[in-house]
Amino acid sequence: MFTYIVRRIVYVIPIVISVALVCFMLVHITPGDPLVAILPADASQELAAQLRTAYGFDRPLPVQFGLWLWKAVHGDLGHSIATGRPVLTEVMRAVGNTVTLAIAAAIIGFSFGLLFGLLAGYFRDTWIDKVATSIAIAGVSVPHYWLGMVLVIIFSVQLSWLPAVGAGPGGSGQWGWDWEHMKYLVLPAITTSVIPMGIVTRTVRALTGDILSQDFVEALRAKGLRETHVFRHVIKNAAPTAMAVMGLQLGYMLGGSILIETVFSWPGSGLLLNSAIFQRDLPLLQGTILVLALFFVFLNLVVDIAQASIDPRIKRG
């Protein structure tokens, strides 16, 4: 197991370097001058050249990359062009809020997804299956922003039960797990949870059906196990794949949804990306994407290792 983990980590290194390279190149492949956002429209050639030197844009690309990477490794992702604040601070705060949202949505989406999926798989082709499958299809096909707005209209505008936008008292930087804050989380979390709920339902339904049709289930019944006990075997067989799918879904959610965070003005990485794009704030964009990409790589690693540790069929040598 230990060697498996080490090997898996070693494999990650080239991926991380490629990710960094892509993020770095982002500035250089986007059309237009990276300085255009901060240069006054009537700036002289001289000023432009000065700034270019100040930001290091006049050096050869590999050198720029080396310098950028060196700084990035030390936590310096530059400063936001729009606000002047360090990119890392901005990104980490936003990522924190997105993680909060993702965890809440994961708890909701995965619980219902597992429940519906197991029920649908076990009671295949009965009305239970049909209801659960319909919910799953609705979950993956309803547009996010539409659902978000419907929820806001019902629960915020009509009923005034829950706030529609923001992250509660203290703004984006001071989250707390109390009702004063959490009531801001309810609607975006529900909106975020429907897709993972639908996908987990579908996956677990298919998995359960597949496992139940395997010979060993008949053999379990043949040795006299009660149905509840057989069900435990089914769950243990489904767990590795279900975990992988949930890990991936969690990954998507941790990436932050631009749409959902914009609808609810949730100060997460999606909203940050949105403003970075619209303000052409390239250092911020670069930093946000880098952090999110690394997050994904790391998460994949964790899911793989977790899967290998619970599934005896995966070779861990």
Binding site: E218, R221, A222, G224, R226, H229, P312
Partner: protein
């Protein structure tokens, strides 16, 4: 001799997109300490018959009529609790593909132990001790280490031994074996057969052994029932069936193996194909392939003619007066 199993007029029909009359008017008995072979080509209803004895067939799509009595109990009438207590304790089954019949994510030890815990209410510790004992009984080398092995870490032969250990862990009176050696190499096959025969005597079990392989049947059976299209078309002692088969189908089967019955000899030597099972038989099912077929054969279903105490055949040519000798 009292019968442990008595099946009478069993009919099994699968409904669904296609109706399959898998078992038709089947009656059989199994005596104490007896090994009965169910012999027949693929699709003749052997596995379905075996599963009916444990009521393992899918509830929704299966229609069963007739009676199945095991140790005097009416299996088709047991409630779910009684049924699950009966399975694995009174009657056990071993399967054709041990690789598929064992749960891939549970260790061998745990799979055996959970059966013991289920039926004998033993602690995990005692049940694991029994599992170890059983692995030794089936002569799995370094049994203690194998307790923690997963099925995919073992060879086919070892897996089948583990499956046998599992099936025998609660000392069942009856063992149902569904082609347990078919998926194995020839040399492993004979080892498993020898092991089964030895354990059958040691445990005093009665066995129903399903096979399509006459050579295998000769190795292990006391009595043989030959199946065709969901019916038993002839049954008798191994000796009678091998020496003087009465039914033309049985004759055809045996003719191909007269020159030294080899294991591995498939029952495919008779020209033609078995009938479709979409209707219950109203004539001799073998008539389209039978060299002796006459109009009488297709006018009605030939009766099962009793030709001796434990001997019968379903063919109009069989005469109880002459064939009994």
């Amino acid at each position: 001799m009292s019968n442990l199993v008595e099946v009478n007029n069993l009919n099994i029909r699968f409904t669904g997109e296609r109706t399959v009359h898998a078992v038709n008017n089947l009656s059989l008995t199994l005596g104490e300490g007896e090994v009965l072979g169910l012999l027949g080509e693929s699709g003749s209803g052997k596995s379905v018959t075996l599963r009916a004895l444990m009521r393992l067939l899918p509830k929704k799509r299966t229609q069963i009529s007739g009676t199945v009595r095991v140790l005097g109990r009416d299996v088709l009438a047991l409630d779910d609790d009684a049924l699950s207590a009966f399975r694995g304790q009174t009657v056990s089954m071993i399967f054709q593909e041990p690789a598929l019949a064992l749960d891939p994510v549970y260790t061998i030890g745990r799979q055996i132990a959970e059966t013991v815990m289920r039926h004998e209410g033993k602690s995990q510790h005692d049940a694991t001790a029994r599992a170890l004992e059983m692995l030794e009984v089936v002569r799995i080398p370094s049994a203690k280490r194998r307790l923690d092995a997963y099925p995919h870490e073992m060879s086919g032969g070892m897996r089948q031994r583990a499956m046998i250990a599992l099936a025998l862990a609660c000392k069942p009176k009856i063992l149902l074996a569904d082609e347990p050696t078919t998926a194995l190499d020839a040399t492993v096959q004979i080892q498993i057969l020898l092991l089964l025969r030895e354990l059958q005597r040691e445990f005093g079990m009665s066995v129903i052994f399903v096979t399509h392989d006459i050579g295998v049947a000769i190795e292990i059976c006391d009595r043989v029932a030959v199946m065709y299209a969901g019916q038993i078309i002839e049954q008798g002692s191994l000796r009678e069936i091998v020496r003087t088969p009465l039914h033309p189908y049985a004759k055809g089967l045996l003719a191909s193996t007269v020159h030294g019955a080899k294991r591995g000899a498939r029952l495919e030597t008779i020209p033609g194909t078995p009938p479709s099972l979409d209707q219950a038989p109203s004539a001799c099912s073998f008539a389209p392939r039978c060299a002796f077929a006459q109009p009488r054969c297709t006018a009605a279903l030939p009766p099962d003619v009793q030709v001796g105490p434990n001997r019968s055949a379903r063919c109009i040519l069989v005469d109880p007066a002459t064939a009994g000798a």
